[in-house]
């Protein structure tokens, strides 16, 4: 049985708590997480897959996987790639309804808002929005 969205978020919160709020260690860890991201094929890095609103470029691809949505993503910057990998870890291979309903409480708890800053978190916000839009689209399709 895989972990719930809530459980994955709690796990992420736990991981970040070990960094003691140190900004450099946090950035370093976010970048490390980015390296674990499932690669997105070069041909998927199309303009259609670019998430609008990101200061750095983010590509997001969604494919159905049974009754779930499988996300693949990439970014041209290491930090954003790390942030993207966290979202993929939480929201990929979930049902469309789970994605739509997901309450991403980890962002505040980990202090991502604080250290990414308002203007920079726009990209992250746009990414979350795009993932939820995919969720909605697949829900509509299923209905």
């Amino acid at each position: 049985m895989s972990q719930s969205i809530q459980e994955v978020q709690n796990e992420i919160i736990e991981e970040f708590s070990m960094l003691d709020g140190d900004m450099e260690m946090t950035i370093g860890y976010v970048m490390e997480l980015g390296e674990t991201l499932e690669p997105l094929e070069e041909e998927q890095k199309t303009d259609d897959n670019i998430v609008k609103g990101c200061q750095s470029k983010v590509w997001l691809d969604a494919k159905p996987n049974g009754d779930k949505i499988h996300f693949k993503a990439d970014s041209n910057t290491a930090i954003t790639k790390g942030l993207v990998s966290i979202l993929v870890r939480i929201l990929s291979d979930r049902t469309p309804q789970e994605i739509v309903d997901a309450d991403l409480f980890f962002i505040d708890k980990v202090g991502l808002n604080r250290f990414i800053g308002t203007q920079r978190s726009n990209g992250l916000g746009a990414m979350i929005k795009q993932m939820k839009i995919y969720g909605l689209a697949y829900t509509a399709k299923a209905n």
């Binding site: 140190d22 900004m23 450099e24 946090t26 950035i27 370093g28 970048m31 200061q55 750095s56 041209n76 910057t77 290491a78 930090i79 954003t80 250290f115 920079r120």
Partner: protein, 415 residues
């Protein structure tokens, strides 16, 4: 490690630093090193005090009040105008118009002068070094008038191609709009020469002085500039205040930019007559408090002396340039002979966003991105740069911290 004493200058930098409360803080647990001065520089206590004093003691609407506070407020407001006149050496105080910034100053000229004097087939020449604010207003008015915007090419070292500019000038050229110094690369443009060449071709010239104002001596009469625009916030003053200088002969013939109070002489439903310059271009209640506080910023610069500031910043720039040149993989974009204290650079294999974020984690504030000069980034086939820019309160020791931070980040991130 070096310290400020290495720099041989008449300025007491530690005493200057003590006037800037914002510099004495930690960000992300590290001492702040503020190197984003080309975006906006910090404000000395005297400017903060002037702003507070205005609201605490003198605030009233200006010009038509007959009571004491209105008189004080008006006097302080007009004193700033006189200070600006002296600062840029305009012939008359009426040639100084208050705007909300360089961008609005340029838009004012594009809208008012451009609407009256541009015609189909006319050409406006900007340069490849321009900030979007000295490109887009011209594109808008050119679109409306069927005129054309052309750009002076940029050479590999970041200088403008003046020989090509000479070829571009013709009797179609109505206006040349270039910056005095580039915000992205720091290049100081030969504006005196550009103005002379443009005038010989019969064109008017607007100089965007936003990046020059706190570094270079500005003499609009010696330059023979037709228009000169600048922003207070890039010269230790408040945000929301800018200047448009224009020659009286031009300003008088230009139609108003916006309608409203202050800019009129008489209003009736049959006919409205307009006020004289500068008020014709200052519709509505202006940003009184910030204009008043702007004078304290000009006094700050004058007290230190522009030449002293420029000499000290030149030392900071040379030192930082030499340090960056030592680091493998770092490429400085823009190596013009004459530069204000701005260094733009790229690092092989490292995105400027990652670099900037990590710099911030180390307490170092730099700017990353295209710096509102996308055509210039395209010219160098790059997406953006990391930019460090220095003001008079920066120190050699801070540059050392910045350089060490950069080396450490490169070690961490190098693929």
């Amino acid at each position: 490690m070096s310290d400020t004493s290495v720099v041989s200058n008449t300025l007491d930098i530690e005493a200057i630093r003590s006037q800037f409360p914002i510099l004495h803080q930690k960000v992300n647990g590290k001492q702040l090193v503020y190197l984003d001065n080309a975006a906006t520089n910090q404000k000395p206590q005297s400017v903060i005090n002037a702003l507070e004093h205005h609201y605490a003691a003198d605030n009233a609407n200006i010009h038509r009040g007959i009571h004491t506070l209105a008189e004080r407020s008006t006097t302080a407001f007009e004193d700033t105008r006189k200070a600006v006149q002296a600062f840029i050496n305009s012939n008359e105080v009426e040639e100084i118009i208050f705007t909300k910034g360089t961008t609005e100053s340029i838009n004012l000229v594009a809208s008012s002068w451009g609407r009256k004097y541009l015609n189909e087939g006319d050409e406006i020449i900007v340069s490849g070094l321009e900030h979007h604010s000295n490109i887009v207003p011209w594109q808008l008015i050119a679109e409306e008038k069927g005129a054309r915007v052309r750009a002076i090419p940029v050479l590999d070292n970041g200088d403008l191609d003046i020989a090509e500019f000479s070829n571009m000038l013709s009797n179609k050229t109505k206006l040349v709009a270039v910056n005095h110094a580039s915000n992205s690369l720091g290049t100081i443009n030969p504006v005196h020469e550009i103005i002379k060449m443009s005038h010989e071709a019969g064109a008017k010239v607007l100089i965007d002085g936003a990046q020059a104002s706190s570094h270079l001596t500005i003499d609009v009469q010696a330059l023979d500039a037709d228009f000169y625009a600048l922003s207070a916030h890039k010269m230790y003053g408040p945000t929301g205040v800018g200047i448009l200088y224009g020659k009286r002969s031009l300003l008088e013939k230009m139609p108003p930019y916006q309608g409203g109070g202050e800019m009129i002489k008489d209003v009736s439903f049959d006919k409205t007559t307009f006020n004289d310059i500068p008020y014709k271009f200052e519709a509505g209640t202006p940003n009184i408090a910030d204009v008043v506080a702007f004078k304290a910023a000009i006094d700050f610069i004058n007290d230190l002396g522009k030449e002293n500031i420029a000499a000290y910043e030149e030392e900071l720039l040379s030192y930082a340039t030499a340090q960056l040149n030592e680091i493998e993989g770092v490429r400085i974009i823009g190596q013009a002979q004459n530069k204000v204290s701005v260094i733009s650079f790229v690092v092989d294999g490292i995105h400027h966003f990652d670099l900037g974020m990590w710099m911030d984690a180390k307490g170092v504030a730099v700017r990353t991105g295209h710096h509102c000069t996308q055509p210039l980034m395209d010219r160098f086939s790059i997406e953006g740069t990391t930019r460090a820019s220095f003001s008079v309160y920066n120190t050699i020791a801070e540059i050392d911290i910045f350089v060490e931070a950069l080396k450490d980040i490169i070690k961490k991130l190098k693929p």
